[in-house]
Symmetry: C2
Subunit: 391 residues, 2 copies
């Protein structure tokens, strides 16, 4: 999300990169029956793996990405010296949070995405881009698509599925939709249902895209993309990922030019050019229609959807849960995480809840590498060792 | 700001409306020397008054409006039965918070505004709209313009100046710029300087306007206004005025249509149509360029601007202060209000600070009528009586 990767790596001396990795693709010629009632007749998933699958295929961890993520969690595609690593490189590698010395780590681009998996920018059977003809997808549909990938990889049961933000929603949905196929869920900086404020922010982002005439009701693939609208949508999203403290700490009221107010509509404050830069960078790599589809999936997300209550949904689960929230995360708050924890505890599920004091807002899950390594990495190692010992 | 005026008036039995009022205009043929170094050669202010100025002109209260406000604080322009009253009608009238049985209440549209005072949509000396040729104005410039209005009205000293949000900034600036001319400052749901997050939200709103091709670098007065961009800007602003609780309480995840997800990009959740409605309503009454100018004035606002420190700025003040913050206001937080209170206390100024537990976010200052009447109205009456008794 944020450009935290520019900082000095705190774990450089102890850990290593997964090195050069390759994005893979798999085509599924089976229909995906979606929550909406529509069917996607065939689809492709882009995915990457890190580490080695063990002999009984029991060491697989599926990482699920957030709104703007993709399958490229860790490592590099080339040996260009200035290439940035995957979006959670701090977390995946030998000795890291998801320790590739032990685990086989998988991540796939979600269905509806724009980084190799089938989505609105993909070519439909008629040879033209789907655009808005692509069916609306839900978190449950994303998970169903991932289930096909696991079948393809020969993985019957995941040792763990986890992620931050929308990744946490997918992890939770795995436990509800496929209870037999997951042993541990890592639910990080996420929510069991989008709040009204979550929906409101997403809707404003969508309105910014709709407002761009280049969006053209989703039909822009033969012309110019709605970069201006998508950029504004990204800025709106971005501000919800950072805490007031992290904005204040990083930028304050620092001026862009020579400590002097411009008294014009040029950029005055550094935070303005930072946001603009975030917007501009994003439009180079992201599809506006995918932004619409994924935010809609976020809005729809409510683990109790299709059940009488959250209890009825969670009663299906058979795994253990690690739930992590961050004190300065105002997008997916501790109160939202607690709603899940309380329900799981009521159902007497094996749940550990850790509320982390952290100042970087929602992005804390990406930034607080040492805390997260200890917490999530520690949880995984302990569970793995316990499992191995009991074999 | 929000449409709270639809609710049943809680004070109906005890208070009355100011009735039919009239917007007045005064043209000043004197130059306004602005903070930027530029000069506005002549300007017009739109204003309204309520109540009666007493014989020694000592009972005047100036109310300053916020970003989207205007001079029409209270009462009605016509006797149409469905006309909505002024934006703070709950606060101004006989027996109300600003009791027109005692006080002469004034409010003027700020310079740079679009509701009768000179701003970017006004006609420049060359007969064409100013558009972006209008000079950038600051809160201090708004206050300077108001000072001309007070001279015009023959008011040497204000019994009080006050307002919420940007209105509070103006009130505070009055005390710094014209310390001899104000006895009491009412600083409500405001901040002595815009935070990084405040600036960030404003900048995203501006970017939404810039992104609208109809904005055309500000030159749209002969064509179609950038309604789409302004609407998105308003939605971004609007969400910062409400608390998570008030959004959840008012809308939750309630669906627009028959309790069924649309699985399309039509409106699913009520909160979406509410936001869209807020955006659409706003563009009917507000000028996009004014939105740019006023948000810029907000960003620039730092009471210490032009001084060595906040202490040096506040050392100029000679009045008493009532500072009010609201627990759920995440736009201008209690911490921001406390920054002012702490500095005033350090300088041994007469300051009362009241932190109100309220759930409606920034809008609480408009919504919590009974609390505010007791608090602000009580403060004013007490100070007024003390003053009268000592005469």
């Amino acid at each position: 999300m944020t450009d935290w990767q520019n900082r000095v790596h705190p774990l450089d001396e102890e850990t290593r990169s997964v090195g050069i990795v390759k994005r893979q693709h798999v085509d599924f010629d089976v229909p995906l029956h979606l929550r909406s009632g529509e069917t996607l007749e065939r689809f492709t998933l882009a995915y990457e793996t890190y580490g080695t699958l063990n002999h009984d295929h029991s060491n697989a961890i599926l990482i699920c990405h957030a709104l703007s993520g993709d399958s490229h969690v860790a490592g590099y595609y080339t040996d260009e010296p200035d290439e940035k690593p995957g979006w959670w490189d701090d977390a995946v590698g030998p000795g890291k949070m998801f320790d590739t010395n032990i685990f086989f780590v998988i991540c796939s681009n979600v269905i509806g995405g724009c980084q190799g998996s089938t989505g609105p920018s993909s070519t439909a059977p008629d040879g033209k881009p789907y655009a808005l003809r692509f069916p609306v997808v839900t978190v449950s549909d994303m998970v169903q698509a991932q289930r096909h990938l696991l079948d393809h990889l020969g993985i019957e049961k995941l040792f763990a599925v986890g992620g931050g933000s929308m990744g946490g929603m997918q992890a939770l949905q795995w436990a509800v939709d496929y209870p037999e196929r997951v042993a541990n869920v890592l639910f990080i900086a996420s929510t069991p249902r989008s709040s009204t404020q979550n929906i409101a922010f997403n809707e404003i982002g969508r309105q910014a895209i709709y407002a761009d005439p280049r969006w053209n009701n989703g039909n822009y693939y033969n012309g110019q993309a709605p970069a201006a609208g998508l950029s504004v949508a990204r800025m709106i999203g971005h501000i919800t990922y950072m805490s007031e403290y992290s904005l204040e700490d990083k930028f304050g009221r620092r001026l862009q030019n020579e400590n002097k107010l411009a008294y014009s509509f040029d950029t005055d404050f550094t935070v303005e050019s930072y946001l603009k830069h975030q917007g501009d960078k994003f439009v180079e790599r992201f599809d506006a229609n995918t932004y619409l589809y994924i935010t809609k999936a976020l809005d729809y997300y409510d683990v109790s959807d299709g059940y009488e209550s959250i209890y009825e949904a969670l009663r299906r689960t058979k795994c253990a849960f690690l739930v992590v929230s961050f004190s300065s995360d105002w997008l997916y708050t501790a109160a939202q995480a607690r709603e899940l924890v309380d329900a799981l505890e009521t159902l007497d599920r094996d749940v550990q809840y850790r509320h982390v004091e952290a100042s970087f807002g929602h992005d804390s899950f990406l930034v607080e590498v040492e805390t997260m390594t200890e917490l999530v990495g520690g949880y995984l190692t302990k569970r793995w060792n316990r499992r191995s010992n009991s074999e």
